[in-house]
Every structure is written in structure tokens, then in C-alpha cells.
Assembly symmetry: C2
Homo-oligomer: 215 residues x 2
DNA sequence: ACCGTACTGGACCGTCGGTCCAGTTGTCCA
DNA sequence: TGGACAACTGGACCGACGGTCCAGTACGGT
């Protein structure tokens, strides 16, 4: 981050102001209709400053998201069980999903703002590999917990499925109406059922569309 | 559709050309970077025509999606089991999910193009109620099948969760690489586990985690 | 054949993401 | 303390895009 120099005081102040302004706008307006100019104006800085600090719209959203997710990140890596290390994987997983729903519920618009772009670099093939760090972390964590508990499952894919929930508009809508608990409950049900399922129980690869690629 | 007059021949021709051009562009380029002008040019019509027929970007995507989903719609409502009526709900559900994955896999970019907007009217509070008809239908169908099999579950929410899968960028990426079978398998596993789970097994509404990180 | 109208298409508009660069200001070092 | 230098600032500017408008076109009914 800070290579060599420290961050200049005014820069830090403006950076904070921009993030704050974005937060407020996000809380009040639909995320896809807040413009960078609006953000700049609301923060009381020039547009150039915003772009200088955050590169582009996505960068701004990423930074904001990263900040919001920080507490959770710490709770998971160094906090007490069941979120932190120490509890059995199953408990950690359930606790983590609860916590993630919580974060998302408190940041309704933000996830939507990131949108699909969360994991995508959209410019002329930048590096299609790198996902949003927050997503990356969440996904890795869930993957690891699932596979610890059930090594026979496709943990990685299932983690994507679970997280996909949080990008869904109808579900975001529910969250807006305060139905976070309902979502958390269903997620618990789902995961519990998954972890309890007997291993060979699901019918294996049936022959799909003939020209569907294998793997 | 055709109230009173028939659709003019040239209009039909152009409409088809536009849809076709959109398809091709969608297949070649990232969906968020194809512009309406491009579509118009590729279809060999003026921009006005495109807007006249489809209203706006979303309308175009909707129309295309509706067309793509038509076959599935018919298979479900009037086709033979297990997709159509007649088979037990569980079989129908599994078959339907397979089929949906198939449709999505064959239309990679399209879902992403619709994006979150699938269910949202974005203009100044138009009618936040109405979802994309295709989504609506898929959701209703899944909800109904789940609740027939397991009336104790929150079928509606679970249906949203299952469908959310298809809007996820990482998963769309997998689909692009031909991993449709892998996704279908995991979905089957998930649903089977869910339907098999013993009723009271999942811990009921615990009072969210006390040490969930704040803010 | 001819009339009314639905359809057409390109000029046009306002907005927005992003760039640029000249001026400013914080920080380091002597 | 002061000077030099780079980092930061911010607003003018640009190209692109979604969407509107409307004069002209040509389809289809009669």
C-alpha cells in the first residue's frame, strides 16, 4: 500500500470523504444511477480526485466493499469461535453465512452496485482471473469449510452457489424489507441438509444433452 | 401481441434481424459493452427502429430471453414427463433444473446482460413489482414443485436461491468453459439433499450471532 | 390505385465515465 | 527554516452511448 511515502493528510481526508459520500448516496439512491460526478460533488472534491484515488467506478465500489467487509474478515481470521478458528467446520460455516447475510443486509445497495462486475475485469481483457478480493476471501473460506466437512462434495462450486444468493435482486429486495432472518434460516436449512446428506444419495451424472461438454 | 392489424412484413423482418444480430454480438462480445447502436448497425437498421420495437436496452434483452426460453416453457407446461406434467414433483424439479442450466449454458452472455435488472424496473419507480416474465415463470414453477414435495420449507425463498445461481459471474464463467454438467450435478446434489433432509433437523431461528462483527 | 398509418432511420441531445494537465500543497531533507 | 519535488487536486474537456424526435417511406387494406 504505502510504499515509501506516507499518505498525505489531505489525501486521506478526501479519500474518507469520498467513501462516506458514496455510502450516503448508495443508501438513498439506486446504485446504478449514482454517477461519479455526483459522488465527487457530494464529497466536495473534483471529479479528477475521485478517479485519481480509485481508478474507476469499480475501484470505488471495491474499496468501499473492502472497508465494509473488514470487520468480518478479522472476525474470521483472528476472532473467537464460532466465527474464528477453533470451532468445528460445520459451526463455523453456519456462523459465517449468518455473518455474511448480516453484512450484506447492512449494505443493501452495495452488492448490487458491484453487480456481476464483482468478479470481472471488464476492460479489453485485463486479467479475467482476479476477482474482487472480498468475494475471493468469502469464497475460499466457504470452500475450505465445506470440503473439510464433506470432501466428497464439489465444495468450490457449492460455495459459488451459496454466494450467488447475495447477488440476486429478488433476494436483495427481501433484505431491504428486513427479511434477513428469513434468508439466514433458509441458508442454514440448505447447508445443514447438504452436510447431512448421505454420500452416494444423489443420482450421478445422468446423460444430459448429448453434445453437452463433459467434465 | 397482434391487436387489430397484423405485423407488417418489413417490421417482422427487421425485428427478426435485430434479435439475430443481438444474439451474434452477445456470443462474441461481453454483454455490457454491446451498444444499441452496434446492434442496430449489425442488424442493418437504424437506431430508431430498435428503440421503436423494444423500447430500451432492457426490453431488447427481455424479448431475446423470452424467445430463448420459449421451448422450455412449452416443454414444462404441455410436454411429456419428466419435464412436463405427470411425473412426481421431485423428478420434475430435477429435470427442470437440468433444463434451465442447459438453456443458460447455451446463452451464456444473455443472463449476465439482463443482470440484476432481470427483476427490476429501474426508472423512477415504475412498477417495482413486475419481474421479467421468464424469471417469474421459472421461479413460480420451482416454488410450486418444492412446496409440493416439502411443504415445511420456505419454497419461495429457496427457489430464488436456486435461480440466483444463474446470475453469478463465476458460475457463468464455468458455463463458458463447458462445465455445465458440473453445475447441474451440484444442483442435483443440493436439491436432493434438501428434499431428503429430515424436517426439524436444521437448527431453528437462533438469535443471530451475538459477536457478529458490527458495522 | 390510393390513402392512412405504422414503420423507418439518422440527426440530435443530455449525461456520464474517464482523461488530462496546470496549478497547489504536503513532506522530506539539509 | 526554507526550498525542491512529487503527490495530489479539480475542472475543462472528450468520446461514447442511451434515448428522443420527426420528416419521410412504403406496407396493406379497400
Amino acid at each position: 500500500m504505502t510504499e515509501g511515502r506516507r499518505e498525505r493528510a489531505d489525501a486521506a481526508r478526501n479519500r474518507h470523504a469520498i467513501l462516506l459520500a458514496t455510502e450516503e448516496l448508495l443508501a438513498r439512491h439506486r446504485p446504478e444511477q449514482i454517477s461519479m460526478e455526483q459522488v465527487a460533488a457530494a464529497a466536495g472534491v473534483g471529479k479528477g480526485t475521485v478517479f485519481h484515488r480509485f481508478g474507476n467506478r469499480m475501484g470505488l465500489m471495491r474499496a468501499l466493499m473492502a472497508e465494509r467487509a473488514l470487520a468480518l474478515h478479522e472476525a474470521v481470521t483472528t476472532g473467537p469461535p464460532p466465527l474464528g478458528p477453533g470451532a468445528p467446520s460445520r459451526e463455523r460455516l453456519l456462523a459465517f453465512l449468518d455473518a455474511v447475510v448480516d453484512v450484506v443486509a447492512r449494505n443493501k445497495g452495495l452488492l448490487a452496485a458491484l453487480g456481476h462486475a464483482v468478479t470481472t475485469a471488464h476492460k479489453p481483457e485485463e486479467d479475467p482471473r482476479s476477482a474482487h478480493p472480498v468475494y475471493q476471501f468469502w469464497h475460499d473460506h466457504i470452500t475450505s469449510l465445506i470440503s473439510q466437512e464433506r470432501s466428497d462434495l464439489d465444495a468450490e462450486l457449492l460455495a459459488h452457489i451459496l454466494l450467488a444468493t447475495l447477488h440476486s435482486d429478488p433476494i436483495l429486495r427481501l433484505l431491504e424489507q428486513g427479511d434477513g432472518q428469513r434468508l439466514a434460516d433458509s441458508l442454514r436449512t440448505l447447508v445443514t441438509a447438504l452436510l447431512n446428506a448421505s454420500a452416494g444419495r444423489t443420482e450421478p451424472r445422468n446423460s444430459r444433452h448429448p453434445n453437452a461438454p463433459q467434465r
